[in-house]
């Protein structure tokens, strides 16, 4: 340790004693932190760049709207359908759980519920795939519905947490005013509280969909047997979908298939990124509006 001593107060204020070394250490730390951020951004840019550059050449109206061999329309449609079914299952339950957390539960109940939500959120998606398989596919057949059940479990904690945060921001005054007017609890929840929080609830749901739309593992086990040659609408058959098709193409080793996969990747990534960014911005705005 270099000699450290009490500085002469009248000496100049440039770094003296061991300060030069300490400032150097601080500077190195700052550079390292900046480098780390640059590294992460670089990874993002590299991935997005590959997807955009390699995928863009495949994108065309045909690609989006027709079936194999000219396009991947069935997969896009199937993904939408699976996401829709999953959300129809997850959203009501998620919102009800959020209402439970904000309107009805005590502190202990809320803590337990939040723990449960966190645990569900942390379940590996391949496990959810196994679950949906065991429940709905084994001894029966693959179905888009089974995949949707797994995705619904993925969406549930996100919708519940997001809605709860928005519901919490609804001013207590609104509920109190309603009570004071003698309006029943359930009426004020349905006609006052929920509508106020609706914007935030919808954006939380969009975020949940963006997350679930990219999940492959649950679908691999429940709705992956399709050929993409025709549009399938029946959810109780295997619905074509984007993630499992990309996965299949990636494992096949066929360069033409790779191109198709890049094109689908671009569509998927674009949807997810725009949905995420847009929903996040809107969510931040609704929260700000509610708490102002």
């Amino acid at each position: 340790m270099s000699s450290a001593s009490i500085p002469d107060p009248t000496a100049s204020l440039t770094p003296g004693g061991n300060l030069r070394r300490r400032q150097l250490v601080s500077r190195v730390a700052e550079i390292a932190a900046t480098a780390a951020a640059v590294l992460a951004i670089a990874a993002l840019v590299l991935v997005i760049y590959s997807v955009v550059v390699r995928g863009a050449k495949k994108i065309s109206l045909d690609f989006i709207f027709t079936a194999y061999p000219t396009g991947v329309g069935p997969m896009l449609l199937g993904t939408l359908e699976i996401a829709l079914i999953a959300t129809l299952m997850a959203m009501p339950i998620g919102v009800l759980i959020a209402l439970f957390l904000t309107e009805y539960s005590g502190a202990k109940g809320a803590r337990t519920m939040k723990l449960v939500l966190d645990l569900v959120n942390g379940l590996p998606s391949i496990i959810l795939g196994l679950f949906a398989f065991a429940l709905l596919v084994d001894h029966k057949q693959q179905s888009g519905f089974a995949g949707a059940v797994a995705l619904a479990i993925i969406e549930l904690p996100l919708i519940a947490r997001g809605s709860q945060e928005v519901l919490q921001l609804v001013p207590q005054g609104l509920r109190e005013a309603s009570d004071a007017l003698g309006v029943a609890r359930w009426r004020s929840v349905l006609t006052v509280v929920l509508p106020t929080a609706l914007g935030g609830i919808i954006t939380s749901t969009v975020l949940a969909v963006a997350r679930a739309a990219g999940e492959t593992a649950p679908l691999i086990l429940t709705t992956s047997n399709f050929d993409g040659k025709s549009f399938v609408l029946n959810p109780f058959e295997a619905l074509p979908n984007v993630p499992t098709w990309i996965y299949k193409l990636s494992e096949e080793g066929n360069p033409e298939g790779f191109n198709e996969a890049w094109g689908m990747a671009l569509l998927l990534v674009s949807f997810i990124l725009f949905a995420s960014l847009g929903a996040r911005a809107l969510l931040a705005r609704s929260k700000r509006k509610l708490s102002s």
Partner: protein, 292 residues
Amino acid sequence: MNYPDQSVPSRVRIQTGATAFPTAVTGTTVQPLTRPELVFDAREVSIFYGAKQALAGVTLGIRRGQITALIGPSGCGKTTFLRSLNRMNDSVSGFRIEGQILYHGHDIYGGNVDQVEVRRRIGMVFQKPNPFPKSIYDNVAWAPRNLGLRRGLDERVENALRGAALWDEVKDRLKDSALGLSGGQQQRLCIARAIAIEPDVLLLDEPASALDPIATGAIEELMHSLKGRFTIVIVTHNMQQAARVADRTAFFSLETGGEKPVGTLIEVDETEKIFAEPRDPRTRDYVTGRFG
């Protein structure tokens, strides 16, 4: 390393052999051996936060070994001025300073000045006690360790705690968390923390305002005992406190000369004169309680 012991507070004026200098403040040559040296020489200091001006043209000298109090109504810039003395305002966005603050003749905001070096010599205690969530010992020992003052650390900690009139109360529980202390004790701990590295100056920003009257009294006694060893500048909204404790007092107020109110230094003089025969009618109004 001498810390004054906790003797009965006295208001003995320190006689030093410092060289006299003609100061811009009074414009007169001072007699040697009766005016202590100038530690801070603020010249026409104006402070802006973005477009808003917080302080206008403050010219003020702070002398060695004395306690100088900055008083005035809320929002008149006294804390802003205090924090500029150790460059704590640097992190506030939009902060801009005009004029000069000389510390022992060196411009604090000069080109090669390292703000860490500035804060090494000019310590600060804040309004609300802010002990680290560490043990009492570690709170006091943290800064010396950082600075490399590792030899005689135990002794240094003890002397600092004695100097802050806290030793007897905590000597048996140095390893306990600092957060278990009362408010007044925490503030004295913060003072001990500051004096452990033997700064030249101590800046106190309303140190007793968050404390009860008994704790306040203890802090004031402490200031008397610290006075000779350190140069102290204290911001207080409590006039009686300034009268009890300070050698010199500077009165700040909001002037609405221009379009918007700006903090201005109205008058600075020996404390007795400020309170007994202030020159400026605004000072007289304030100290006699005519306005808040």
